[in-house]
């Protein structure tokens, strides 16, 4: 056991170093792109990468608080992962600084409302200026990161205290986390609604949709389930996890991924249907730009690739209960979410047609490396399975195959 913990720690520490080097290097290359291409292109690519990785942490923030309220062993086995991932949110605030500098110093075409010349020429933007102006935007952004940081640090504090307290006190800390978790879910959804409106939707400030933040959020949560299935699989496969994931719990995560695939489709299609039916000139351009000039291929790919394919792949219980199969489906789900976020953000800068730039790749690797670096840093601070979680006896019973829900076969890792 001790040997395994050591092996796990050294593996994660090597990965962390690698992520740091790759991420740092890629960020340097990305910003060197300012000389090679343009500041606008670099910051647009960077904003896309930032929003994708912020979405991973935002989904984790939701699940961290949700599983604290609902309990259930599915939440126990992903708890440390969502904790480590949500803990990145305050650090993502640092990664927002290049975007903030770009806006303040007018270095790039990011948000049209931040450009006084554009605002002066637009009747509607002039009237939106009391909300959409640079100082207030930055103040709101600071506020989001501050509240998120406070909420996630509070949760982490309880978690560390529970880890260090004896098992007899587990319920005290469980109650504290559950009491924080409920209001935190609510706060998180509200914060994300405002943040998505500011960071993403206001790239096209004449357009508004109340469904945009929640439709995106469904994708974030879906991606989280996919991500933790992959992480559990990689750890199991390399004998680093320390226990065999009970196949019923793996099935739970797969069912969640299936449910959120359907929810993502429901929300995104509802948004499309309402705007299509309404056929109002203020609202249709957003979809117009995203279904023309090459962007329509991404839109069609999303209909089939973000709904039909995962829907039918995850429909059968046999795929959800096979570790190797569900892990590969999960990798695909993360990839298609990347296409989704790309399609959400980048048409805003390229109304003329599809465009992709090498800085998208380097910015993705850069922010991604930084994200993984911070994730592993937090993950290594505490045991990968919380020792004193109140659900540990339940998990142990399932691992032994006793208890009414018996027949807990481990999910075979190496298929």
């Amino acid at each position: 056991m001790a040997e395994q913990t050591e092996k796990l720690n050294s593996t994660l520490s090597n990965l962390q170093r690698l992520a740091g080097i790759v991420g740092g290097g890629a960020l340097v290359i990305t910003f060197a792109g300012i000389a090679l291409s343009s500041t606008s292109q670099v910051l647009q690519s960077y904003l896309f990468a930032f929003l994708f990785f912020f979405g991973l942490s935002a989904g984790s923030m939701f699940l961290l608080n949700l599983q604290a309220v609902t309990s259930g062993v599915w939440g126990l086995i992903i708890r440390r992962f969502v904790e480590a991932s949500a803990m990145i949110i305050p650090w993502m605030g640092l990664l927002f600084i290049p975007v903030a500098i770009g806006i303040v110093l007018q270095l790039a075409d990011l948000y049209p409302w931040s450009n006084p010349a554009v605002v002066a020429a637009d009747y509607i933007l002039e009237r939106k200026a009391p909300y959409l102006n640079v100082p207030f935007f930055l103040a709101r952004t600071v506020f989001y990161f501050a509240v998120w940081g406070w909420l996630v640090y509070r949760m982490r504090k309880f978690s560390i205290a529970q880890e260090n307290a004896p098992m007899s006190e587990t319920m005290t800390w469980r109650d504290k986390m559950a009491q924080t978790g409920g209001p935190s879910v609510l706060a998180h959804v509200m914060l994300w609604t405002f943040a998505a409106t500011d960071w993403g939707m206001s790239l096209e400030p004449l357009w508004a949709s109340s469904m945009y933040p929640v439709a995106w959020m469904a994708g974030q949560i879906l991606t989280n389930f996919a991500l933790w299935i992959i992480v559990l699989w990689l750890l199991s496969k390399n004998n680093l996890l320390g226990y065999d994931v009970p196949v019923d719990r793996l099935h739970d995560l797969g069912k969640f991924a299936f449910a959120f695939t359907v929810l993502w489709t429901y929300l995104n299609f509802s948004q499309y249907l309402i705007i299509w039916s309404g056929n109002v000139a203020e609202f249709t351009p957003w979809f117009h730009y995203r279904t023309l000039g090459g962007w329509q291929y991404l839109a069609i790919a999303l209909v089939f690739g973000h709904f039909f394919l995962p829907f039918f792949l995850l429909l059968s219980r046999h795929t959800k209960r096979n570790f190797g199969v569900v892990a590969r489906i999960s990798m695909y789900l993360v990839a298609i979410e990347l296409v989704y976020v790309f399609w959400l953000i980048n048409p805003a800068f390229n109304h003329d047609g599809f465009s992709i730039h090498w800085t998208h790749l380097t910015a993705f690797a850069g922010v991604g490396g930084a994200w993984i670096f911070m994730f592993l840093r937090h993950l290594r601070q505490l045991p990968i399975l919380p020792k004193h979680d109140h659900r540990i006896p339940e998990l142990e019973a399932q691992l032994k195959g006793k208890h009414g829900h018996g027949h807990a076969k481990p999910a075979p890792a190496n298929h």
Partner: protein, 190 residues
């Protein structure tokens, strides 16, 4: 069912045949353990009757996965594609109308009904498929001849080895079941 009717028609007063042997267990762990052992002993015609769903019992008995999911899938596909095709036919062929200048084949407007059709026909397939697979309605079943079987809907966990099992032998089955900790073991007739 039909066989039983024709038997009744001839009304031969022969002694009723043995249906099987019923054993009562007191909890879920016991019944799963017993089911596994009975299966290992080579019995194939074994059925369980429990007051609550017992996870893993199907596997322990070696029952094949139910065909119901396939029926539900077929129902869902029929409902969704059928209604989508119906709306297309109505709007494009049978009664074309210009609605807000949109194309006749305005598929986004068909999706909500397509979805509802999928849900409705999946539900039909699930309910009627279950009734069909279970052979319902079934006004008579021999298991109720087993003494004390009423407790199967209260707190009794029952396993029945049926006489049609190729290796059925009342004495062997009885001793096997008693050895597995059954509270009560009874042979009963059709």
């Amino acid at each position: 069912m039909f066989k039983r009717k024709s038997e009744a028609a001839t009304a031969a007063p022969a002694a009723p045949a043995t249906y099987g042997i019923m054993a009562e267990f007191s909890d879920t762990d016991e019944i799963i353990h017993a089911a596994e052992k009975i299966r290992e002993a080579g019995y194939t015609k074994v059925e369980a009757y429990t007051p609550i769903p017992v996870h893993g019992l199907d596997e322990a008995l070696g029952h094949k996965p139910s065909r119901l999911p396939w029926l539900v899938l077929a129902g869902g596909l029929t409902g969704s594609s059928g209604l989508f095709a119906f709306m297309t036919w109505v709007n494009v062929v049978d009664y074309p109308m210009n609605i807000g200048g949109r194309p006749l084949f305005s598929w986004p407007a068909f999706i909500p009904i397509t979805f509802e059709g999928m849900v409705l026909f999946s539900a039909f397939a699930a309910v009627f498929g279950l009734i069909f697979i279970c052979g319902l309605p079934m006004p008579y079943h021999p298991v109720f001849n087993a003494p004390g079987f009423e407790r199967a809907s209260v707190d009794g966990f029952f396993l029945c080895i049926e006489a049609k099992d190729p290796q059925y032998n009342a004495a062997n089955a009885k001793s096997l079941l008693q050895g597995l900790g059954a509270k009560a073991v009874h042979e009963f007739s059709e």
